[in-house]
Symmetry: D2
Subunit: 352 residues, 4 copies
Amino acid sequence: MNFASDNVLGASPKVLQALLDANEGSEPAYGVDAHTRRAEEMLAEAFEHEVVVFLVATGTGANALALSALTPPWGAVFCHAESHVLDDECGAPEMFTDGAKLVGIEGAGGKFTPEGLAAALERYPRGVVKAVQPSAVSVSQVTEAGTLYSLAELDAIFAVAKPAGLRVHLDGARFANAMVALGCSAAEMSWKRGVDVVSFGATKNGCLACEAVVFFDKALAENFQYRRKRSGHTVSKGRLLGAQMVGYLSDGHWIDNARHANRMAATLAEGLAAAPGVRLAWPTQANEVFAVLPPAADRALKAAGFRGAPWSSGSLPPGFTIGPDEVFLRFVTSFATRPEHVAGLVEAVRAA
Amino acid sequence: MNFASDNVLGASPKVLQALLDANEGSEPAYGVDAHTRRAEEMLAEAFEHEVVVFLVATGTGANALALSALTPPWGAVFCHAESHVLDDECGAPEMFTDGAKLVGIEGAGGKFTPEGLAAALERYPRGVVKAVQPSAVSVSQVTEAGTLYSLAELDAIFAVAKPAGLRVHLDGARFANAMVALGCSAAEMSWKRGVDVVSFGATKNGCLACEAVVFFDKALAENFQYRRKRSGHTVSKGRLLGAQMVGYLSDGHWIDNARHANRMAATLAEGLAAAPGVRLAWPTQANEVFAVLPPAADRALKAAGFRGAPWSSGSLPPGFTIGPDEVFLRFVTSFATRPEHVAGLVEAVRAA
Amino acid sequence: MNFASDNVLGASPKVLQALLDANEGSEPAYGVDAHTRRAEEMLAEAFEHEVVVFLVATGTGANALALSALTPPWGAVFCHAESHVLDDECGAPEMFTDGAKLVGIEGAGGKFTPEGLAAALERYPRGVVKAVQPSAVSVSQVTEAGTLYSLAELDAIFAVAKPAGLRVHLDGARFANAMVALGCSAAEMSWKRGVDVVSFGATKNGCLACEAVVFFDKALAENFQYRRKRSGHTVSKGRLLGAQMVGYLSDGHWIDNARHANRMAATLAEGLAAAPGVRLAWPTQANEVFAVLPPAADRALKAAGFRGAPWSSGSLPPGFTIGPDEVFLRFVTSFATRPEHVAGLVEAVRAA
Amino acid sequence: MNFASDNVLGASPKVLQALLDANEGSEPAYGVDAHTRRAEEMLAEAFEHEVVVFLVATGTGANALALSALTPPWGAVFCHAESHVLDDECGAPEMFTDGAKLVGIEGAGGKFTPEGLAAALERYPRGVVKAVQPSAVSVSQVTEAGTLYSLAELDAIFAVAKPAGLRVHLDGARFANAMVALGCSAAEMSWKRGVDVVSFGATKNGCLACEAVVFFDKALAENFQYRRKRSGHTVSKGRLLGAQMVGYLSDGHWIDNARHANRMAATLAEGLAAAPGVRLAWPTQANEVFAVLPPAADRALKAAGFRGAPWSSGSLPPGFTIGPDEVFLRFVTSFATRPEHVAGLVEAVRAA
């Protein structure tokens, strides 16, 4: 079983069926088909707010496009020093924003603090012409360390960001996993906190390729259709995206998937933490487990056919070091993870 | 029946089945899955040449990315004055090339001539620092007027382009339709003529969202993986694209689809041309029919449930004018077009 | 004598003296020095309007920066098909606008017409997502053909541009020459017509390197200081630019220079037109003469030490053709042109 | 006396005279005039190497253009976390490189270490598609803290950079001050160490507006003329730049100016360090003094008509803190600083 990521799988059966069901008949192209319209309505319901929605096929596209609506080329976007937008998209945000600067803020456990943001803001004073101008903050929820900002932590960050004139982006590649883990609503994790635009990920949690850029303020989205088109992210047969999103949101499927994945991760974390010589780098709060293993355990799980992703990070807890022989791995669970997979992995490690 | 475009449909049954078949199991993400690998092999077979292939979900993405590999930001890309890259992609090529200039060349029937290219080249002399530098030529095959360059016509254009140091891009959004119509091989319509990179369209001809950027020269593709990633066009669950392309290329499905669509268009063109008061703007060479209709015919076909796309063009044949009451429509046929649709449309027009 | 351009010279004595006078003492850097402040006041006086002014060292910088304030990256800027911004700046406007499209409009004598603009607008309908969006029009005054738009002609163009939502840029590399020739005020040639921003050239008419981007609407200039800085066009020792502009505008120096240059051009045009075998391509309305000469005349003026610039153009008058042996040259006069230079050139041509 | 920067002054008398001497006569435009040609020769002599030189008017232009020749848009440029290119140019490098990422490396005293560079390189592995690709390193000499890298320190950094495939840029806004302080030749501080391109500053050390981008490898400079032109940095009356550089380099003027400025700074540093309650943040190695003063001293020097620039920095020495009442100022000396200015400033501070 491959635990390296939640994108090593295909679509969940419900999403796949939605795609099949939508295949017949003719629909207008370029995102104005009935399936996409329905997806937009369902997202408005899910967020309990009027929304302007743009479906795209990739998370990098969603993030880079979203940020481009929040900053001019001479702007600064504040984010965690290990965030996906900063380090894992080959400069996509810089391309889409025509050269804005992503300012990384260090912070343990994949999270930066209000104080960290305040300090970063001081380096780029508004109105000082040589400095890029503070424009946006991007928060990842789930973070790169598999952790979560509590709603209070988000409030504290936004209490610094908003008076500084920053727009707020939430990178929700694992939005559902975070929401379910926090036990809050989509609204409570977004516009009720002050989020201006969400990259609402659906691919990792059951779709094949579907992400939504969700705006709560129509004005911000004014020219977004041109941005999407000129970046090549307007899919012609829009039903591909619309149908996936409808399937994903129907009957609480997205929530069921996330809840299941989180539970599997909790079980896996518990099992690994109890194994001799195994340590977790961060608490498992959503569907990712970051574990440091003795080499024998690493060999054993490989031999048993399990895969994690080799990891490294600069935001380990203070004092947490990894020995030269130890192996640092990420394990990600998903809608497709079965309890027996988890048990098998834990057993392999324990036996080592 | 909607004849407005070939992207108002879903996937062909064979492509859809391939997608279903590929859904199970885990695969590495980001375009190195087994399905994508197989698609790459099949494209090499189809082109009878070693190729470097990048699958993406949209034609605009494919074109803009392909051009970005052929020109520096201070370069000129020569293309037809009504080409898709110039006028129908909201400036995507300019975004991806970081500001290169697309130089439109006028020409009747959607085609420019070697002489037109030579004249355009004179305006941008190599080494003159104030002039953008001649870098590439982009040829659409099928053209925006539904016409085709003969192989001899391509040779004549490339005989001007190559000595001028231009790289050659072929916008093959309807590659299969063109190839089938010319009765040539993929190789004969591409690298054997001197084409450096093809935007190989599959979406319109049976896929849901799948295009391949096909390079024949490895060196040209050297950094393309970074270009694709930073533009957000690297799909994480790569099987989505790989499986479609495998289904599309298997058992000559792409050729069957194109041949069928072309035949339907020929029948439609014949029927419309014979209808009183109807004129075709250009010969129907692939799967598009451009017809000028009397208003009554337009009303009649709408009443009968048929749709075409309102059209306008600056490359009408000399002397061909459209009266103020006449209606200019494009009709596109596809794998899903049935003879009875065509017959019905023609009948509705004739009856008017 | 070198008549190839008006930038083959140094500064006029008055401008040079102003530079000398400003050299002593300390001044704050980056464009907030006393000289620049004075230049800003003088430009407000010259234009009889509140202005926001940004001095830069080059005309390409001024034009590209000005356009970048008028269009988003997905915008279209309409201009003459042979305009400097389109063809003589190596793609600078594309770089500064992050990829906007410059749409060239053909027109005889370097001028496009309201009808030409209206036709171009039709190709890029507002709100159609595949089309770049109409954003600005750029008019060159003096044109690339050395001709002038009359105030009525400007009115007619802007009467099409303004209702279409276009912002108006005036490329005034030879602003003074045009103004003097039309016998109007700076205000009458700019904001009173509807111009939003002027590239106010001073280099060619007496400065060493000084151009002003002049905004009449503060809101348009809002972020311009960041645009100028991040393009490297904010000179640290700002007095260099401020002092030149002060010297240029003092005591009507700019007007005197332009009047003199225009007079010299008129004399030259008259003389050349009267020479056997010589034809002028366009009327001489400012300080440029475009002449077609027999080869013997070309040889004779070279032998006598005179230089013009070899020329070519696609906007020659209907029916005006240039023989294979004839030589097409541009002659530009300036503040430094002496009557005896003109007489000598004419004499050399006549004698041939 | 204004010690806030070395760009609050005009030109040195010798540079001004060179400008005057070059004003007469006609010269070809756009950087191919005799003065520029002479400047290029003199730079080749100064660097004892064949060079390809591009003169521009601003340091930001020089830096951003230089970097754009060293990195693709998907590249990473490593530099100090407080370097000018990273934080003081409003994103110019991002604009000119079309979105490359500047990766800041922390380090005390304005200098980063080979270990710091090695660690930064690990975050961006070559060939990993999600990571921007390591492309260049930029070293400031003099640094933002007024300190210098020794030649051995440069060697150590480049010993990490070169095997990693990085090109090397040296930001020499105060090149002469650094060279004189190190007692080495221009060659020893550049190509002999492995530097590929230098931003050779002349403005701060005596010119009005003149910087040279100096390449030692012709191939790297191949397309630089187009980069300069399309960024608007090709001055039409090129003599403005050529003449300044000729005056600057003639008779060792640049070295004399730098030596004088450095001496004045050393005297100032000594005087301030000896004043009660005053501390220097970093050693004074070139022409900048960074001092922490008691509030009374700050008031006294202002009252006496002296100005420094308020400063802040994240690279203070470990344990060096600044009290809430203390004032942190930068003082910069130049060719125009007189011993009596220095004595007066020191006296004012001492008396407080």
